[in-house]
Amino acid sequence: MVDTNKAHEKEVKVEDLLRFKRAERPDEAFWDTFDRELHQRMLQTLVKKDPWYVQVLRGVSGRIAQTAAVGAAAAFLALMVLRPTLVDTTQANGSYLALQETASVVLDSSAAPVEVTMSDLDSTLTPDYQIEAISGSSADRGYMKEYSTDSFEVASYDRDVYAMDTAAYAGTGLAITLVY
């Protein structure tokens, strides 16, 4: 029993080996340097650091100012880019509206001759064939020539004008001219 205890006492355990680590200690010179460096770093921290709420306020106000500046710049740029487009569109719309007004006036004015012509035709014709009736009644060659010539001149003028925008405008111009 005694021998067993002695043998147990002589055992070297992991704990015994780890205890050697306690002996790994820096010398006094190390601690002098350590203290000096730590004081310097703490002083730097004291000088540089603001209270947390000041940092938060500064961050928030900085972001607001930054956002406002970027927003203003973006708005200005957008205005500068979009303004010419808006102006052009307005002019185009204005022309289109003017055209519509003219067209309606022309159509209205053209309605009268149709009615007059219809009254001269055979009463058995139904209103669905009014256009054919017009074609049929305009058998006068002299009138047709005059009508054709005028129509081509005006049509070519209108096409030149409206070809800038769309083909539809040009077509409309032709139609108006033919009626006119």
């Binding site: 992991v14 680590k21 601690w31």
Partner: protein, 210 residues
């Protein structure tokens, strides 16, 4: 830590009230919180060697340990206004040191060259060291250097979580409950980690264990 925490230690015998280490630290903390910045130096002087030892054994690098220890105190200083005294100061600062070192070890992908501290010469005169020398039949100085290297290598092979528990218990001498409070785990987890870590170390250091 054997002389801190719940251990009551009479500091001023003339006074009726005995103060614990925790109370003493809390009094210093309150001074710092009141604006006496210089009082923080008392806490630095008291805990710098413990924190350095912990960090040094975690990193096995003297320069890294010095930087991390300084940064631990700076972090504590910056956060001391928010310290409410719910735990003891030493638990709090150990926790800062552990977390800061863990973050450092995660960032450090590969091991840097190891720079060891000198081992106190008194160790080579200890009984256990005499036995080791006799067993290995080697010269004392050579054995000290060899054992130091093997011990550091073995510790570095452990995971940081297991390493920290072994260091806090076997080298720093903290109780299981104190380690549990620092690492925010249960005492069961601490015991389990300690048991596993010792098994690992035993296999790494079997040449020196009789």
């Amino acid at each position: 830590m054997a002389n801190s925490g719940s251990v009551t230690k009479p500091i001023f015998p003339a006074q009726e009230k005995t103060l614990t280490e925790r109370d003493l630290d809390w009094a210093v903390v309150q001074k710092v919180q009141a604006g006496n910045v210089g009082a923080f130096d008392q806490l630095v002087q008291k805990y710098r060697e413990h924190i350095f030892s912990l960090v040094y054994n975690m990193t096995s690098n003297r320069e890294d340990a010095s930087d991390l220890t300084q940064e631990t105190f700076i972090k504590a200083f910056q956060a001391i206004a928010r310290f409410k005294g719910k735990s003891s100061f030493f638990t709090w600062i150990y926790r800062i040191a552990i977390n800061h070192t863990m973050t450092f070890l995660k960032k450090r992908n590969r091991r840097r060259f190891i720079s060891y501290e000198k081992i106190d010469e008194e160790v080579s005169n200890s009984e256990i060291f005499e036995r080791l020398t006799a067993k290995n039949r080697s010269e004392k100085g050579a054995l000290v250097s060899e054992l130091q290297e093997k011990l550091n290598d073995a510790l570095q092979k452990l995971s940081p979580k297991h390493r920290s528990v072994v260091i806090l218990h076997e080298i720093e001498g903290l109780e299981h409950a104190e380690i549990a409070e620092i690492t925010k785990t249960s005492t069961g987890t601490v015991r389990s980690r300690l048991h596993y870590a010792k098994q690992q170390l035993q296999s790494y250091l079997q040449d020196y264990i009789t």
